[in-house]
Amino acid sequence: MMRESSLLARTAAVLLGLLVLVAVFADLLCSHAPLLARTGGHWHVLPAVTEPARAAALTRELREQDGFAVWAPVRASPTAKATDDAERHWLGTDDSGRDVLAQIIFGARTLVTTTLGALLVALVVGVPLGAAAGRGNVADALLSRTVEWTGAVPTVVAIAVLHASELVTSTWVVAIALGALRAAEVARLVRGEVLRVSGTDFVLAARALGASPIAVVRRHLAPHLFGPVLVSASLGAAAVVLVEAALSYLGLGVPGEVPSWGALLGRAGVAPTGRLLPGLAIVITTACLAILAETLEDRLAARRGGAGRV
């Protein structure tokens, strides 16, 4: 049982690692310009990234002058309409002529950016807020009000409002908004943990021995917080992935030009396989995150149970 679950968790971790790799090296996997080219006696390395203005002209030059070039496995751009005849659309294009496979590859980058950004915001805001609420009365009252306020506005409505006011200018705005909405949840979790650990005998003993509040937090609270926060973060990541996909599908997610899996699901003119793949990718990503969270939770429970059963 243990071995099997750890195998599952490892697979999940490997798949997620692959996703991050794809996101990081999307430019190497998929580019409308060559990765490496030599024309007119000059070497160009990754012209699509280093000199985007010249990339199109370079492609033309290459065709005319018969230079040397190394192409990416997928020769297409996720944002621009296909112009080059040499481009092959493995999964077809959408209604405005953008390559679907390229959008899937760069969609991974959008997904990773949004998710990590949202998590970062949620943790940076939520953990100190929750810790403060677990220790002070005023902060506690403030937190419960904030949780009430953010809980009363569903994510979809909050993001719709942001879109209506034309504030969604980049992926980061969506990430920050999703993170801020999740922060309340993180804060609530941290508050509960802080309250629980603060009441234990070893914290009492440390304080009796004269440990300063900072030392108590560093030595005793932080290690106990780490596990639950990690579990909540991976569950939160799964939730963010899903919500981002749903919002993008509705047209309320990342700005229209940014490739996104969710948006591909709803875009007109995409062939069924072009929809199935991003859909599957979303399912696999969320499932991996959920499996990871579950495994972490099991480990955490086992460690806690072990500690109690001396």
Binding site: M1, R145, E148, W149, G151, A152, V153, P154, T155, V156, V157, A158, A160, V161, L162, H163, A164, S165, E166, L167, A238, L242, V243, A245, A246, L247, Y249, L250, G251, L252, G262, L265, G266, P272, R275, L276, G279, I282, V283, T285, T286, A287, A290, I291
Partner: protein, 502 residues
């Protein structure tokens, strides 16, 4: 119970804070475009557009200030004089009590210019003759006399009587009475637009709208045999116009001025529109309430299906899974739950392309049930597992209780987590419901909201967020109450927090 009451009372401030925050965000992107972003300069060239400060107006609009400013500009004959002339005529009769007594304070040539500038107004008010409007001297003489004779008419009580008489029956004399008061009668005319319930009311609205249209030179007249609906729509159009422009035609004094500092703002306008026109008027011109009542049933049906069906199915599956923990059934159930929770409903929607509208509703409900159940089942399963690890469960097992019976038996202890989930999960279900509506082309709140986002429909978005916030708060309170009833410890904890119990 007291706890619930207190929470209910907290909803008010909560909604207020949310409304302010949302309004701030909604108007932030467009630099305070407000209710009428398209209504630009051409209508009011003298004072610019009608945008207001968003939340606090240190100088609320006021017909006296506007009129005197315009008057001075005309008297000086500066570069804005032409615009000021148009502005003064627009302000009309409401400006006369402020302008005419001040004429003496101007130098003779300025006086003449102002009097001449008011000539088109005299024509609109149907007073004086063409000669009176011909030259500056004649106009000045005419307006001086006019004020001597008619100053006594420019009082609210007189305006109220004239408008009331016009509302009852339209004769030439009564029409002229109101016309002679011009914009001074606007507040009374607006008041007489409501209520619109019977045919007689519709006739009154027709007479009033005729008078309004000729005074303000706006096109919204009511046709002779228009029905009740048309009368209502016309009345609403006028009320909306008044909401934006009323501060140009009235004076604020004393406490009213303090109030105007808050109400004569973008937020104040939205709030007044929301209160008067049933949650406000959406960009399409319909009242938000109307739109809401036609679209809400679909979304409610989906949410209800998710909440009731999803939770019932999820609890049942969770109990079964926990009873047979780690058996193949449980394993496959857990795996399925993970996948289903992850599977965006869109994928379903694409696979199950449905037929007629009733089939679509059924498919939509099914999708909601599946999505909700997959989350609930996982919660219920782990909660039951925890409950079955307790000593009393071990004791019961030692006495020979079977796994099914144990799982059912521990339900009262394990359902707490699912009940508290219900309060918060509803917000998430709303997102899912929007996605399902979009995928199945159901005409629910989601479709309207998407349209509202592109049309920058503040009224709808505000109404939607506030209604949803209100309902979610209620759901949260209900779930807390249920929690207290199910688990006395929660109740006791609350009492202890208040210091009622040691």
């Amino acid at each position: 119970m007291r706890h619930a009451l207190r929470r209910l009372l907290w909803i008010g401030p909560t909604l207020f804070v949310i409304s302010i925050a949302l309004f701030w965000v909604l108007t932030a992107g467009r630099g305070g475009g407000g209710l009428d972003p398209d209504e630009a300069d051409e209508e009011h060239p003298f004072f610019g557009d009608h945008s207001r400060p968003r939340f606090f107006n240190s100088r609320p609009g006021n017909v006296r200030d506007l009129a005197l400013l315009a008057m001075q500009s005309i008297a000086r004959n500066d570069e804005r004089a032409a615009a000021a002339e148009r502005e003064l005529v627009r302000l009309g009769g409401a400006a006369l009590p402020h302008v005419l007594p001040q004429l003496d304070s101007l130098d003779p040539r300025g006086r003449g210019r102002v009097a001449l500038a008011l000539a088109p107004l005299a024509k609109r008010m149907n007073v004086g003759t063409a000669e009176d409007r011909a030259s500056a001297d004649a106009a000045l003489l005419f307006w001086t006399r006019f004020w001597q004779d008619r100053a006594i008419d420019f009082r609210p009580a007189v305006a109220a009587r004239a408008v009331a008489r016009l509302g009852e029956k339209s004769t030439v004399g009564r029409r002229d009475d109101v016309r002679a008061l011009d914009t001074f009668a606007l507040p009374e005319l607006m008041r007489k637009l409501t209520p619109v319930e019977t045919e007689a009311d519709a006739a009154r609205v027709r007479r009033i709208s005729m008078a309004l249209a000729s005074i303000t030179e706006q096109p919204w007249r009511l046709e002779r045999d228009a029905g009740l609906e048309a009368a209502r729509a016309t009345a609403r159009t006028w009320q909306r116009w008044w909401l934006v422009h009323h501060s140009d035609y009235v004076t604020h004094d004393g406490a009213e001025r303090v109030f105007a500092m808050l109400s004569d703002t973008e937020y104040g306008r939205w709030a007044a529109d929301a209160v008067e026109n049933q949650l406000g008027t959406s960009e399409s011109g319909k009242s938000v309430r109307e739109l809401w009542s036609t679209r809400a049933p679909t979304t409610t049906w989906l949410l209800g299906a998710g909440l009731v069906g999803g939770f019932a199915a999820g609890i049942a599956l969770g109990l079964m899974g926990a009873a047979r923990a780690n058996a193949p059934f449980d394993r496959s159930l857990s795996a399925l739950a993970i996948v289903l929770a992850a599977l965006p409903t869109t994928l379903f929607a694409l696979v199950l392309a449905p037929g007629g509208p009733s089939a679509q509703h059924a498919v939509g409900a099914f999708l909601m049930v599946v999505t909700a159940a997959s989350v609930v089942a996982r919660h219920q399963r782990s909660a039951t597992r925890v409950a079955l690890d307790q000593e009393y469960a071990r004791t019961a097992r030692a006495f020979g209780a079977g796994p099914w019976r144990l799982a059912l038996w521990s339900f009262r202890a394990s359902c707490v987590s699912v009940v508290s989930l219900a309060g918060t999960h509803l917000a998430h279900l709303l997102t899912v419901a929007f996605v399902v509506e979009h995928a199945l082309h159901l005409e629910g709140l989601g479709a309207v909201t998407l349209k509202a986002v592109y049309a920058h429909d503040i009224a709808w978005l505000m109404a939607l967020s506030l209604s949803v916030a209100f309902l979610l708060s209620l759901a949260q309170i209900a779930s807390d109450l249920l929690l207290g009833a199910l688990d006395p410890r929660v109740h006791l904890g609350l009492l202890r927090k208040r210091g009622a119990v040691e």
